[in-house]
């Protein structure tokens, strides 16, 4: 008896790479795409806008104080020292975005390295490092910011460093949790068996494999940093004039609430809401993209 073996031809189904699947998943998320578009528009508005609508944001023009929107040359009116509000929104946005993005990335960098080392090392080192994190979290970031603002002159670089240094605690916890899981994985053990060092384990294996968590958290860190600088500026301890940021503009505008000068309040307020929402939407989209279970849908 002969047995014939059926010939089965392998079915060639094109399989997308993991990064392509993530991109596809991200762009399938309408909110994330909306956030990305808003962010892009705000970046264009803040950094390219001054080329289209150049204004003098250095000198005051008291004769033009508090002009209403629509006044010739001032689509959004002027503030209480005669500076063009639309132009100031662009300049202030640059400050807010620069500080927010840089501080968010700095916080993520510090937190990632700290958490990865703590989680990988374990033992007493992990305990010590995480108690430091716990202690830091117990102190309100806003308090530290206000104290720092009274000690250092609040320039943009100083604000970036200060906010970055008070915001890295949460990402440190998240990455540490990832590291605790990753350190016992086979590929890490194999690397160690082959003589790999601790540094290689942390920076070539632990952190790259926690990148999903890191990237998602980074977007939230940026949003939080923008809010933090807005808080500090709202309290009068932001960057020194003539520089400004959206929080400082909002703070100043609030003084004129009872006068009905809405153009000193709404533009800056809306800008803050938009940029923070955009980063949060992008973060949500990235989180979904990195979620393995969703990639099979």
């Amino acid at each position: 008896m002969t047995v014939s073996t059926p010939h089965v031809e392998a079915e060639h189904v094109p399989v997308a790479g993991p990064y392509r699947r993530m991109v596809k998943l991200f762009f399938a998320n309408k909110l994330a795409v909306t956030g990305l578009i808003i962010l892009a528009l705000l970046l264009v508005f803040c950094f390219l806008g001054p080329l289209v609508h150049p204004t003098d944001q250095i000198h005051t023009q008291l004769a033009d104080a508090n002009l209403a929107p629509g006044t010739k040359g001032h689509p959004l009116g002027t503030d209480d020292v005669g500076r063009d509000v639309l132009g100031r929104l662009m300049i202030g946005g640059q400050t807010s975005l620069e500080i927010g993005i840089a501080a968010g990335l700095l916080a993520t960098l510090i937190g990632t390295v700290w958490g990865a080392i703590a989680g990988y090392a374990g033992g007493w080192l992990d305990t010590v490092m995480m108690r430091v994190v716990d202690a830091g979290i117990a102190i309100p970031a806003l308090f530290l910011l206000l104290v720092s603002a009274t000690i250092f002159r609040p320039t943009v670089p100083v604000q970036i460093v200060i906010i970055g240094c008070v915001s890295w605690l949460v990402p440190a916890r998240l990455v540490r949790a990832e590291a605790l899981s990753l350190r016992s994985r086979d590929f890490v053990q194999a690397m160690k068996a082959m003589g790999g060092g601790h540094g290689r384990a942390v920076f070539r294996h632990i952190i790259p494999n926690a990148i999903g968590t890191v990237v998602v958290n980074a977007t939230f860190q940026v949003a939080d940093a923008i809010l933090l600088i807005a808080y500090v500026s709202f309290l009068g301890l932001g960057v020194a004039p003539p520089a400004t940021d959206w929080g400082a503009m909002l703070s100043k505008g609030i003084s004129y609430t009872y006068d009905g000068y809405w153009w000193l309040i709404f533009p800056a307020g809306i800008a803050i809401v938009l940029v923070v929402s955009a980063f949060n939407c992008i973060g949500d989209g990235l989180r979904d993209s990195f979620e393995v279970r969703l990639q099979g849908r």
Binding site: T60, P242, K252
Partner: protein, 612 residues
């Protein structure tokens, strides 16, 4: 009231000028012309005994002292205003009747000067006692005097050559009378108004101790003992949270005692049931509430959260609304000047500030008219010199009246350029060092840049805008101004009188005049703020001719001395003259009576009452 300090705090309001009338007459003022401004009042209705009220303090003003001897950083006027409700000063003045001391609010009868003006005899009022039942005696005044004499360098109101240096001998005549022999003859009106108002009896029988729980003695009568007692009391005075409980501060003689004194600046005074004078409080308690900004205060005012508050200049459009809520709105003008001191001892910019042409250029860059109109909404008055610009007075010289340095940026720019400065990358840089007429001036090195740093008080949008306007104007003449805002107390702490080698001498310019920088007594002489080594001469301005003129204003009855003082300093620019804001635009509930708005920024809350 004995607060020498300045400004800032309405600070200085010094003293009250004693018999101002006499002073005014002595200075040759015609009635009306030379008198201090009158204040508004809300004194209607019949007084009701009891009740409580809240009073809003200026933005960022946080009381931090109650001891009758002020030390640097603790001499703000609101400290003095609160303190003298608890510990009566020897003399105080009510600016609405500045012709004589407000005897009821003080501890002594009118002083009697010898015919040669070289001694003064003072009798204490005989109905005053401390809360422990002991009489207020001459020994209590001597106690204050001894502590000041042996610790004068630590006293914020100390000016070399003045009190207590100008008292050759202090003699206790009897329990109620004491005599002071002076080092030379003084104008009696000036001496009372500018010196005696600093004095304040202190309970010697309770406070003359060197440590907690120590025995009471006469330690103050020796230098070593006085220093120890002073240090102990200063230490206790630094514990703000204990003001309401520390037995030391319970020994009061004023119409109120401390019920609450928080480290965040809220103070509640309660009626002193043991007060034996004839100026007892009507209210059971009054709370002084601190605010971080004028806007914050206004928000509370709109909600009815304060009984006696104020409306920020930029919210004056809301006056009708506030009045509709049951408040009376009254402008409170101050007999004051507002300025930004230069720190002539700053190691970097001191030599630059010493160049008169630089100060002239800076002054010509201050657009006072526009600032007053647009930023202060007409609630400020341009100021051109050391004498309050309003109301017009015979103290003002012609030079000050006519503004010697009107706003002119182009002229200012040319003035700097003519002295060897070139604008490079927007900042003037010295290219011709030397002392010639067309050179930068003595001590200014080649390459020096006109980069100034300004420390300014936070909490006021008007002040923020004014500083931005100044920054903008100065940038047009090549001066790069960096602004840093801090709460008022921090600004004062960070801009002390200093020597170039001091670590505290890094400040260059300082502004603390949101409510006026310096409140004068009726006799607006400048020995406290512009004389060499004066305690409140923050920037260490020193000019021999100015010293000589100031000396004459305090010792001579020549009416031209004050005018000469006015003219000389208006032109010599010891500070940057700035618009002087109204003390505040008050909003007072219609249910409150007895309020007098003292142009010299004093308060008599014991006379406030709820209307029946």
């Amino acid at each position: 009231m004995n607060r020498p300090l300045p400004s800032l705090l309405r600070a200085a309001r010094p003293l009250a000028v004693l018999g101002v009338a006499a002073t005014l007459l002595a200075a040759g003022c015609s009635s009306g012309d030379g008198s201090a401004p009158g204040g508004g009042s809300a004194s209607g209705g019949k007084p009701q005994q009891g009740g409580s009220m809240t009073f809003a303090m200026p933005p960022n003003a946080t009381p931090n002292w109650i001891f009758p001897i002020g030390t640097p950083g603790h001499s703000a006027s609101y400290n003095g205003a609160i303190r003298q409700q608890v510990f009566l000063p020897l003399y105080t003045f009510n600016g609405n009747d500045s012709s004589k001391p407000d005897i009821k609010a003080g501890a002594a009868e009118l002083p009697e000067y010898s015919s040669d003006g070289k001694s003064v005899t003072i009798t204490l009022r005989d109905n005053l006692t401390w809360a422990n039942g002991q009489k207020v005696t001459s020994r209590d005044v001597e106690f204050w005097f001894n502590l000041v004499k042996y610790n004068k360098e630590k006293w914020s109101a100390y000016n070399k050559g003045q009190f207590p240096d100008n008292v050759a001998k202090f003699t206790v005549v009897d329990d109620k009378t004491f005599k002071m022999d002076l080092t030379r003859a003084y104008n009696p009106d000036w001496f009372t108004a500018n010196q005696l108002v600093r004095m304040s009896p202190m309970p010697q029988a309770a406070w003359d101790i060197q440590q907690a729980g120590g025995q009471v003695g006469d330690y103050d009568r020796t230098e070593d003992g006085a220093k120890k007692v002073f240090d102990y009391l200063i230490g206790e005075a630094g514990k703000l949270s204990e003001y309401a409980t520390n037995p030391l501060w319970k020994v009061a003689n004023g119409p109120f005692t401390v019920k609450e004194f928080t480290t965040t600046g809220q103070v509640t005074l309660a009626k002193n049931p043991k007060y034996t004078g004839d100026d007892a409080a009507h209210l059971d308690s009054i709370t002084f509430k601190p605010f971080t900004s004028a806007q914050a205060e206004f928000n509370v005012l709109r909600s009815g959260g304060v009984d006696y508050g104020y409306i920020p200049a930029l919210a004056l459009s809301q006056q009708k609304t506030i009045e509709g809520m049951g408040y009376s709105v009254k402008r409170w003008d101050g007999w004051a000047i507002t300025y930004i001191p230069y720190n002539f001892n700053n190691p970097e910019m001191g030599p630059v500030f010493k160049q008169l042409y630089i100060r002239q250029a800076v002054q010509m860059s201050v657009d006072q008219d526009t600032i007053s109109k647009v930023i202060w909404h007409d609630q400020a008055t341009p100021g051109y010199g050391p004498v309050p610009q309003i109301p017009p007075s015979s103290y003002q010289g012609e030079g000050q009246k006519t503004n010697p340095y009107p706003f002119d940026v182009e002229k200012a720019k040319a003035l700097i350029a003519s002295h060897g400065w070139e604008i490079q990358n927007g900042v003037a840089t010295c290219t011709k060092p030397g002392t010639g007429d067309d050179q930068c001036g003595e001590g200014v090195d080649q390459g020096t840049q006109l980069k100034f740093e300004l420390l300014t008080q936070s909490g006021s949008t008007e002040t923020d805008n004014m500083m931005q306007e100044l920054q903008s104007s100065l940038s047009k003449i090549g001066v790069a101004l960096t602004i840093k805002s801090e709460p008022l107390n921090s600004v004062l702490d960070h801009s002390p009188v200093c020597k170039p080698a001091d670590s505290t001498c890094s400040w260059q310019l300082s502004f603390f005049g949101t409510s006026g920088s310096w409140y004068y007594p009726a006799y607006p002489s400048g020995e406290e703020i512009f004389a060499t080594d004066a305690g409140t001469n923050l920037g260490s301005y020193s000019d021999p001719k100015a010293d000589e003129i100031i000396e004459r204003t305090t010792s001579s009855t020549d009416s031209t001395a004050m005018q000469e003082y006015s003219d000389y300093l208006a032109k010599n620019l010891p500070v940057i003259w700035m618009p002087n804001p109204a003390y505040q635009v008050s909003a007072i509930k219609n249910t409150i009576g007895g309020v007098e708005q003292d142009p010299m920024a004093g308060m008599t809350p014991q006379r406030w009452y709820l209307v029946k």
